[in-house]
Assembly symmetry: C2
DNA sequence: CTTTATCATCGTAATATTGCAATGAACAAA
DNA sequence: TTTGTTCATTGCAATATTACGATGATAAAG
C-alpha cells in the first residue's frame, strides 16, 4: 500500500485534491508568488529567487504545469513561465465554492 | 533528502502550503464534504461513507484536525467531528486572497 | 465483572515526494 | 566549430505518505 485509492472517489474530489496537492509545497507557493508579482514573465530568474537547486525548481515547475496552474513558452534560449490565467480563475471558483459550503450556524462541537 | 526545506520559506508560504497539503487527498476532501453536508455532527458514520478502513480514516481525521480544519468532541461512547468554522473561514480568506492576486491583464504566454 | 461498540495508536509494507549531482538537449555567441 | 547559457531529464538517496491488520483504551450495555 501507500498508493492513493483514486478510483474510489469522485472526479470532483480527485480534481480538488489534485489542485490542493500541487499547492501543497512552500516552494511551489513561492514560485507562484514570483509569477504573480512580475509584470513580465521571467524565466530562470525563478531559480535565483529560490533557495533550491535548478533541477529541483524545474521539477516543481513541471508539477505546477501538469496541474494547469502555469504555462511555459520557449523564448529564444530561455523559457518564459507565467500563470495560466484561465485555469487560475477556474480553480479560484472551485475553491471558493468548496469553502462556501459551510452553513452559517454555529457548529455543535 | 526528501524532506521539505520548510525553514527556507516564509511563514505565510508554509502556512498556505500546509493547508493545501491537508486538502491534497481525495479521502480528506470526502470527509470534509460529509461534515459540510450534515446538520448534526456524526461520528464514526464517516467510516461507513468512505471506501477505506477505520484506521485509515482515523489517520486522515487526525491530519485534518492538526491542520485546524475540523474539531472533535467526545460524546459518550463515540466522537463527534465537525468543521472548525472559525479556522474554516480564515482559510477561506487566505485562499481567496492568494488567488485574488492575479492581475486582470492578459498574460504574456 | 464481562461483553460489545467506538475510536485511537502501533507496527509495518508499499508507494510517493523531495532534493540534488550529473548529464543531455537546444540555442546563441564567438 | 567551439564555447557558454539555459533549462529538462536521469538516477539515486533520504524522507514522507498512504493503507491496513492487530492491538489498546474507554465507555455503554448486559
Amino acid at each position: 500500500m501507500g498508493a492513493t485509492k483514486t478510483d474510489h472517489f469522485t472526479l470532483q474530489q480527485n480534481e480538488l485534491a489534485s489542485l490542493a496537492k500541487a499547492l501543497g509545497h512552500p516552494a511551489r507557493i513561492a514560485i507562484l508568488e514570483v509569477l504573480l508579482k512580475l509584470d513580465s514573465c521571467i524565466c530562470g530568474d525563478i531559480v535565483n529567487e529560490l533557495p533550491l537547486a535548478q533541477p529541483t525548481v524545474s521539477q516543481h515547475l513541471k508539477e505546477l504545469k501538469t496541474a494547469g496552474l502555469i504555462k511555459g513558452n520557449i523564448e529564444g534560449n530561455s523559457i518564459c513561465y507565467c500563470i495560466d490565467a484561465e485555469n487560475w480563475n477556474k480553480y479560484k471558483e472551485l475553491l471558493s465554492a468548496f469553502f462556501g459550503q459551510l452553513a452559517l450556524k454555529t457548529n455543535c462541537c
